[in-house]
């Protein structure tokens, strides 16, 4: 049967993709960030998941204002990196796992999570930047990906506790899939940041540290964090962090924190990263 072995939390700042694509990951600005992910790439080589289940948000790329699904599951055979206005990132096409996606879609809906099914979907930096941070620059990504896009652009994003419950349903779905597959779940986005209006540039390192502590050790409590707290304390775009709770819900109650990294800034954003293994 398929099973979930580990979870990764990772910011998806577009500038990190640009730094990787331009080969400036060793400079004074980006060097410390990419150094924080060296451990992660080595860990990933040993972990060798068969599939990555990747929770991210689309930034008006696959979905503009016409259609705004709260949860959209990729069910395609491949996902092409999109042109976000500066040309597509020069990274491999992301291969899907259509059979696993189909199984998860059916399982989730019967489990009362009425997700949207995407048979074709372009993917933006929200998905490709975490792939780069965890896998580097291979010619082909080493495993297929099942993407889950979450609306965090138009308020309200789904509540943290709803994301946490969805993670648990995703776990039930994966564990009822017949094939032997080792799955690693990514939750992406964050940490504290605000990109807009006069308060742009907000960073709240203390809040971010507490958020990570709760996520790892007291997720029942942390998943209750209200939207107003995200908006006020972590910035208007920091609300992306609810997506980390989908990942956390898919893991055991008890996890081991294998790696934690935090850095300010990448562009406008605090970069946060965790690797969690099921205990």
């Amino acid at each position: 049967m398929a099973y979930i072995s580990s979870g990764v939390a990772c910011s998806h700042v577009p500038a990190l993709g640009v730094a990787s694509d331009k080969g400036i990951t060793g400079d004074d600005y980006y060097g410390p960030i990419f150094k924080g992910f060296e451990f992660s790439k080595e860990w990933m080589e040993k972990e060798k998941p068969d599939v990555v289940f990747l929770v991210y948000n689309d930034h008006c790329t696959a979905f503009d204002a016409r259609v705004i699904p709260t949860f959209a599951l990729g069910c395609g055979t491949e996902y092409v990196p999109a042109d976000e206005g500066w040309g597509p990132r020069p990274v491999p096409v992301v291969k899907g796992h259509r059979n696993l996606s189909a199984h998860i879609a059916q399982s989730l809906i019967l489990d009362e999570f009425d997700i949207t099914i995407m048979n074709e979907m372009e993917v933006d930096h929200g998905l490709t930047v975490p792939m780069t941070m965890m896998f580097g620059q291979p010619d082909e990504w080493p495993c297929p990906v099942v993407p889950l896009a979450v609306n965090v652009v138009q308020y309200p994003a789904p509540l943290g506790r709803r994301c946490f419950a969805l993670g648990k349903a995703i776990r039930r779905a994966i564990e009822s899939y017949g094939e032997d597959l080792k799955v690693c779940v990514f939750g992406t986005g964050g940490m504290s940041h605000q990109l807009q209006h006069k308060r742009a540039g907000l960073i709240n390192a203390e809040w971010d540290a507490r958020f990570m502590d709760l996520l790892v050790n007291e997720p029942d409590k942390g998943s209750q964090i209200e939207h107003i707290e995200y908006l006020r304390e972590a910035g208007s775009e920091g609300i992306e962090l609810v997506m980390w709770y989908v990942m956390r819900g898919a893991l055991n109650d008890n996890v081991e924190e294998i790696h934690r990294f935090y850095h300010v800034p990448a562009s406008n954003t605090a970069v946060g990263h965790l690797i969690l293994e099921n205990r």
Binding site: P14, A15, Y29, H59, C60, T61, D64, A65, R66, D83, E84, G85, W86, V153, Q154, Y155, P156, S192, Q194, L195, Q196, H197, K198, R199, A200, G201, L202, I203, N204, A205, E206, W207, H227, I228, L231, R232, E233, S236, E237, V264, P265, S267, N268, A270
Partner: protein, 128 residues
């Protein structure tokens, strides 16, 4: 609809009301994601923008690059940033413009960003 976030200073939460007001403005902005549309806009800015039935205020703000006003009139940063990119302005430069900090913005970020202290409530800004 209660809006507990309306007392956060310097922040426009892109909620359903803002999204409804800004729909055509945002669809105009996002159309500039594609190179073909950028060319059409460059060739005839007014003709191009008039395909989107936005308000006169939104139209002026878009043509005059009034970044904060665009957000106040229903724009969302992930959309308006595409209009900024069309003008060669990246996210960090755009933040410099919206905060009125210009070049100092980058230095603030390198120094750890804008502190949360004094930036939680509108009342903290009005005291200044």
């Amino acid at each position: 609809m209660s809006k507990p976030y309306s007392d956060i200073p310097g922040t426009i939460v892109f909620d359903s009301d803002q999204a409804a007001e800004g729909y055509y403005l945002n669809q105009f902005c996002i159309s500039l994601r594609l190179a073909d549309n950028r060319e059409l806009f460059r060739a005839d800015p007014e003709g191009y923008i008039d395909q989107y039935p936005m308000t006169a205020g939104q139209r002026n703000a878009a043509l005059n690059q009034e970044w904060n006003l665009l957000l106040e009139l229903g724009g969302n940063i992930y959309y308006t940033s595409k209009l900024a990119a069309y003008h060669g302005i990246n996210f960090q430069q755009l933040a410099g413009l919206m905060t009125g900090m210009g070049e100092d913005y980058r230095a603030m970020m390198v120094g750890g960003g804008r502190s949360i202290e004094g930036n939680r409530y509108q009342s903290e800004w009005e005291d200044e």
